[in-house]
Structure formats: C-alpha cells, structure tokens
C-alpha cells in the first residue's frame, strides 16, 4: 500500500492534529463564551474575589465529575454519588455531634482527621458495593447504582430520622473541633475545596494518561472481551473506578457538610445528573472508551459559571432549568458535528493529494 502511505504522510498529518486541536478547543470555546458573556452581562462577575468564589462552587461538581469520568470511560454509570454525598455528610456530622456509641456504655469521639478518614472509607465501601454488584453479580451499572441511589439516601434519612445534624463545630472536651476548616478555610488565599479539586484533578489526569491502570480503563470501555483476553483484570479495573467514584462523592460530602456546618440528609439530590452533564460536556462518550480529565474539569466550569451567571443576572429559576438542558444537548451536538467536519476536512485533503 505504498501509494496510500505517500498520499497520507506529508499532508494529512497536519490536518489530523488540526482536527484534534479543534476537538480539544470545543470545550474551551464554550468556557470562553460563557465567561465573556457574563463578564459583560453580570455586575462585577469578573472580579478576582468572584472568580475564586465560582471556582470554589465548581469544585464540588468537578470533584464528583472526576470519579464519574472514569466510570463512564469504562462504559458504566454511577447514579448513586448524589446519595453518597448525603450519606457521608450524615456520617461525618453524626460522628462529630454524637460520636460513635460502642454499646458498652461509653462513646468514642474521633478527632476531625479521623472523622474525615472514616467518612472517606465509607464512600469507598459504598463504591465497592456498587462494583461488587456490577462485577460479581453482573447487575447493569445503571441498575446497581440506581438501587444504591435509593438505599444510600434512605440510610441517610434514617441515620437522623430526617433531622439535620447542625452546628458541627465540635467540642473542646471531645477534641473534635476544626471541622468547618474544610469549608471555610483557605491555603495561600485559595479555599481548601479548590486545592482538593486541583490535587485530585492532577492525580486523575496522570492516572488516565501515564499509568497502565489508565490504559486499562480505556481498554475495558472500548472492548471488554478483548481487554480480558489481553490479561487485563476487567473486574479489578471496574471495582477501582466505582470505588474512586465513591471516594470523590465522600470528599464532596465532607466539603459541603463543613460549608453548611450542618449535615442534612437530603443533601446531594440530583448531583449525579450535573456531574454526568459536566463529564459529557467535557467530551467523554457515554459509550465508553473515550474521554479526558481535562475536558471534564472544563465541562464542570462551563456548567458552574453558567448557572452562577444566570442566578446573578436574576434569570428566573425556570429559565435556568431550560438553559441547563439545552446546554447539555448542545454540547454533544457540537461535539458530533465537529467530529464529522474534521473527517470531511481530511477527506478533501486526501482527495486533493491522491
């Protein structure tokens, strides 16, 4: 096929990388547009303080989306993260307020760090249950996590019988003070939540592109059977992604609870949908095997800025809902359109060459 190679090598390569750039830029463009738009439309939107505030709010959805990205790349879905956020919040709140009652007459109070660790473990555990249902009992991810959505939410409500664990400042005598730091605290002027987003984001990105695990995640999403035959432990990989997703949800649970200084069992409802939206906006395909962490983060920002901006402009809640829906659809439509366009561009190139 020497002929083909000649026609392709010199002049198609640029076309490809160009197309790739386009594809990458897609989400950036969206970001750019919303920023500029609201910068003009909404009062002191672009102020430094505000940028930080927005990032801080985006962080919550962004962190959830990180876990969701891997899940979706393996061709799965995790509908339970919203409920996990709620449940882990209650866990943290309960531990700080009432401690852990060993039914031996005395109660253990954990310090904040321990409390956080326990909560994170809980999140990972729930993720593991999801993974176990999906891999060992081969329940469809949608169903397994849908079930967990209900179970975890119910558990959260039962844990306090619907009440709110409020005023979670801890008590000196219990040595469990300082919990609000996660929510209010700042490091080098940046809120903790933002640092978490950056940290987790970098780790996830590295895993995705530079580690075997990352490759395996893409492979499993692309063709499970082939992956298995290549010696990839498909089930292990799946377990890991759902556990990571649960972990991210628990992190968010902690952050929100600490921000509210109160744990409310209904917290996190429909968070999963916004996370999925961000992931898809970021160019991850629902059919698995394709997606990037960077894209997801940008997707989260686009959604965050959008809803922020609309609220700040005082747009009616009802319109906000409509816009959200349109954006989700539009994102994917544009994505598709660009893929097509790109392909065509290349074809024309080759046609000229050949």
């Amino acid at each position: 096929m020497s002929a083909t190679i000649q026609t392709t090598r010199p002049d198609v390569k640029p076309a490809f990388s160009l197309g790739l750039q386009l594809l990458k830029l897609r989400t950036f463009i969206a970001l750019f547009v919303v920023v500029v738009f609201f910068g003009l439309a909404a009062p002191n939107f672009a102020s430094a303080a505000n940028v930080i505030l927005i990032s801080k709010q985006v962080a919550i959805n962004a962190i959830l989306s990180l876990g969701m990205t891997f899940v979706i790349i393996t061709g799965g879905i995790d509908l339970s993260i919203g409920s996990i956020v709620g449940l882990s919040g209650m866990m943290a709140g309960g531990l700080i307020l009432h401690g852990f009652d060993t039914h031996l007459g005395y109660t253990i109070y954990f310090n904040v760090v321990e409390t956080c660790l326990i909560t994170l473990v809980l999140g990972v555990l729930i993720g593991a249950i999801n993974g176990w249902l999906i891999t060992k009992l081969n329940v469809a991810p949608f169903i397994a996590t849908l079930g967990m959505l209900y179970v975890a939410r119910g558990a959260a409500l039962l844990s306090s019988n619907g009440d709110t664990f409020s005023n979670l400042v801890g008590r000196k005598e219990f040595g469990n003070q300082g919990f609000p730091f996660l929510g209010e605290g700042t490091i080098l002027g940046l809120p903790v939540a933002i640092w978490m987003m950056i940290g987790l984001g970098l780790v996830a990105a590295y895993v995705a592109v530079r580690t075997p695990l990352g490759r395996y995640i893409y492979a499993v999403g692309g063709n499970e059977r082939a992956a298995g035959l290549s010696g990839i432990r498909v089930n292990h990989v799946k377990m890991v992604v759902y556990m990571f997703s649960g972990f991210c949800a628990a992190v968010v649970g902690l952050v929100i609870t600490s921000q509210l200084v109160a744990a409310q069992p209904a917290t996190g409802e429909t968070f999963e949908l916004t996370a999925i939206a961000a992931v898809v906006l970021g160019g991850t395909s629902m059919s698995g095997g394709r997606g990037t962490i960077g894209g997801t983060i940008i997707g989260a920002f686009v959604i965050g800025i959008l809803s922020e901006g609309l609220v700040m402009m005082g747009v009616s809640t009802f319109w906000q809902i409509v816009v959200k829906g349109l954006v989700i659809i539009l994102a994917v439509v544009v994505d598709q359109a660009q893929r097509k366009l790109q392909a065509r561009a290349v074809l024309r190139q080759v046609a000229k060459a050949g």
Binding site: S166, G183, Q259, Q264, T317
Partner: protein, 293 residues
C-alpha cells in the same frame, strides 16, 4: 392497643420529615390521636400532589376514620380532599390552607401574615431601617410563601432606605437556599440582611454567608426550629417567628375527635393561630416548636 383499634385509624400526611417542622407537627398529631384512643400512621407526600392523591386513596381503602393533612399545594390538593369527602372521611388541614372552602372540615393554620409582619418589624429594627437586603421566598405552590412575602413587604416597603437587591425562591429547602445565597452574594457582596420565608432556608442562607466570611449579615427566618434557636443563641441568625404548629396539630386532632363523635367541630372552618417572635430574649425557652413559660 385494643381500644385504639376500637376508635379507629387516623392518617397524618405531611411533607417529607427532612424538615423538622413537619416531623414535629406529625409527631404531635400522632401523639394526640393516640392519647385519644386512635391508632395513627405518619405518611409523607414529599410535596408531590400526585403522590398525595395516591396516599389519600390508600387511606380510604385502608378504612381510615379521618385525615390530618399538611398539604402538597393549595390548588392541586382539592381533588384529593374532595375524594376523601365523597368517601365520608373528614380531612383536617394544618399549616397550609387550600384554595377551596367547605371541602376540608377545618383549616387550622398559622396567621402567616401576622407572623411575617412581626418578623419583618424585627428585621427592620435589626437593620437600623436602612441597607440593602435579600428575600428568600418559599415554594410558589404553597400559599404560605406568598402571604409571608406580602407580610414582609407591607412592613419593610414603608422604609425607603431598605433596598431589596435580590429575591429568589429556594422552595423551603436548606441546600437550595445555600447555593442561591452563594450566587446572590457574588453579585451583591455588600448586603446587610436576608429575610427568609422559613427556617430551613434561613439555615442554608446563613451557612453560605458564614462560609463567605459574612457571618455578620442579619438573617431572620420563620418557623422556630431548634436549629435556628441554637444559631440565635450563638449570635448567628438574629431572629425567627415561631409558628404554633404543635398547637395546630393538636387542635386539629381534638376537633377531629369531636367531629367524629358529634358530627361537628363547633368551630369555623378556617382558624388562624397567631405567631410569636423568637430572638435572644426568649430563644432558650424554645423546644421543638413549643415555648415553655
């Protein structure tokens, strides 16, 4: 228990108990009913009229003697109550009213207008009669939301130096109030006060303010929940308005008992119970929507 069976079953239907307000009223009604020899079950319609309708259907089938209802929307509830009426099962409304008279036997609700006004007066005083403020409104389908908002403004709007810079609905929800407040803050960092249609929203709003380092902003709520009480005691939220919701629930049950026995409650259908202001002075005396004195 035997006698309870004899007296029959009472259904107590309220919105989801994840707002302590509803938990309290439901428990109060249940306790009262049982003390009068009825058996009672607590159900929740999650503010979904369709679900509420099915619950009422189910209770009719279950052969309940009467229904105590904190409803899921003043208009969308009428059909359900009518259905019960047709089935000869009296409904007693608490906390929220419905738009059609003579369907429910009695509608025992807080005097939301009066309550809103005393709340607003406290707010005005705390604000020093000037400054920019934000209003968080309740769920539109709940007449309480509208009435309270009116009550607020009939007072506040008399003070030209009090400027409302944002008004958003947070559907009575704590989490929604939190995120809405965050966003509003971004557009208006210099607000001085926030007045809320209920306590859960007040809690959410205050948390957002505190997290953004605006813990000094004046927040006033309405309901009189323990959460807000604690916050008041720690100098967070400044004031709230206690709804006599326990009294509403208990009165409703008493009148129900009377009605079932004699065929009339001996009271008008619509009954408004006045609210009381809660602030630093009397917060300590508040426990689960009851003032001990």
């Amino acid at each position: 228990a035997v006698s309870a069976r004899a007296a029959g079953l009472v259904a107590v239907i309220t919105p989801s108990h994840d707002n302590p307000f509803y938990g309290a009223e439901a428990d109060a009604a249940k306790a009262k009913a049982e003390s009068l020899g009825y058996s009672a079950i607590e159900l929740s319609h999650d503010d979904d009229p369709a679900k509420q309708y099915q619950l009422v259907e189910a209770m009719i089938a279950r052969g309940a003697k009467a229904i105590i209802l904190d409803n899921a929307g003043s208009d969308a509830t009428v059909a359900a109550v009518q259905m019960a009426q047709k089935a000869k099962i009296p409904t007693f409304l608490i906390d929220r009213e419905i738009s059609v008279p003579k369907v429910a036997v009695s509608q025992i609700i807080s005097n939301n207008y009066q309550g809103a006004q005393i709340g607003a007066q406290a707010f005005v005083k705390l604000m020093g009669e000037k400054g920019s403020y934000v209003e968080l409104v309740g769920r539109d389908s709940d007449t309480n939301a509208g009435i309270r908002s009116k009550g607020f403004h009939d007072v506040i709007d008399d003070y030209p130096d009090l400027k409302m810079v944002a008004r958003q609905s947070a559907n009575w929800k704590q989490s929604e109030a939190f995120s809405k407040m965050q966003s509003i803050l971004e557009a208006n960092p210099k607000i001085k006060g926030v007045i809320c249609g209920n306590d859960t929203m007040a809690m959410g709003a205050y948390a957002a303010l505190k997290a953004a380092g605006h813990g000094d902003v004046i927040v006033v709520g309405m309901d009189g929940s323990n959460d807000v009480r604690d916050s008041i005691e720690q100098g967070g939220i400044r004031a709230t308005v206690l709804q006599p919701v326990i009294q509403e629930a208990e009165t409703a049950v008493v009148q129900m008992d009377k009605y079932l026995k004699s065929g009339s409650t001996g009271a008008a259908e619509k009954q408004l119970l006045d609210c009381t202001l809660i602030d630093k002075t009397n917060a300590t005396k508040l426990e689960r929507f009851k003032l001990s004195n």
